[in-house]
């Protein structure tokens, strides 16, 4: 038994026959054939690139609108760093007092939610509790 026959030993005979028949020398690919295949491939994929958006113009418009809205919200929304604690020495005076509340009020605006935060900060500033918390 040859080495090849040992490798085929566990395969079905019809599969072995098909594999043997396919085991032929590689046919020569000329440069012309190679160029034509390359051109066909390029034409195929360029068509795919064009049709992604041209096939679904409505979805493209929706996606563009959503992206634009997201950008507008990011640009026009309050520029507040949520990681910065607001009950702090915001004006770097060395202590927390009403001047920090003034600083916060000027930077946060007069919206109702912001006003509540500012009032809470001011109440903490004047609190008589030892920890500075409102009683």
């Amino acid at each position: 038994m040859t080495r090849d026959e040992q490798e085929y030993d566990d395969l079905p005979q019809d599969l072995i026959d098909q594999l043997k028949s396919a085991d032929q020398p590689v046919s020569m690919i000329t440069s012309r054939v190679d160029r034509e295949i390359s051109q066909l491939a390029e034409a195929h994929f360029s068509r795919r690139r064009q049709t992604v958006w041209s096939r679904h113009p409505a979805w493209a418009a929706v996606a563009a609108t959503a992206l634009l809205a997201l950008l507008l919200v990011q640009l026009r929304g309050p520029q507040v760093d949520e990681h910065v604690p607001i009950y702090a020495d915001l004006d770097n005076s060395g202590r927390i007092d009403i001047a920090d509340v003034l600083y916060l009020a000027r930077t946060r605006g007069a919206e109702q939610q912001q006003r509540a935060e500012i009032d809470a900060f001011a109440m903490r500033v004047v609190s008589l509790a030892p920890t500075g918390e409102t009683s």
Binding site: D97, A99, Y103, A110, V125, T134
Partner: protein
């Protein structure tokens, strides 16, 4: 609004006065607080206490400047519970610099209940006064008891 606040304070004072009617050592007083500053003031904060421990704050009124239209910030809960043997009062204004008060301005009136026969030894000090630009200004603070005496 101011009339309502004054009425509430007076009613509270009357109630407290009746409660201590048999104790002739309890009396009530109103103290006007004045801030004097060469520059317009956008925020201020002061503390008032009594070295003898005779006072309890029973109310705080706003001052005379239109730039500070609301009652200033103070610990209302401590006042309500009768625990305010000292008080920290503060306020800020977002008004234009032209509307901010300067010179001598009444910034608040503090209503007090005083107990004991001794005179109170008030200690009033300015914690901060801030200009429109957010900088501390060299201001001074004084008080005037509404009977007319000034310290």
């Amino acid at each position: 609004m101011r009339a309502l606040i004054v009425s509430l304070i007076l009613m509270g004072s009357c109630c407290l006065g009746q409660a201590f009617a048999e104790d002739d050592s309890v009396r009530f007083s109103a103290m006007d607080i004045y801030l004097t500053s060469a520059e317009p003031v956008a925020a201020w904060q002061f503390e008032l206490n009594d070295h003898h421990g005779l006072m309890k704050v029973v109310g705080v009124e706003k001052g005379e400047s239109a730039a500070y239209a609301r009652v200033p910030y103070y610990d209302r809960e401590a006042v309500r519970l009768g625990e305010a043997d000292r008080i920290v009062v503060a306020d800020y204004s977002l008004a234009d610099v032209a509307r901010l008060p300067s010179d001598r301005t009444r910034i608040a009136t503090v209503h007090l209940m005083l107990s004991g026969d001794d005179d109170a030894d008030f200690n009033l000090f300015l914690i901060t006064a801030t200009t429109y630009d957010g900088l501390a200004t060299d201001a001074s603070i004084s008080f005037e008891v509404q009977t007319g005496s000034e310290q």
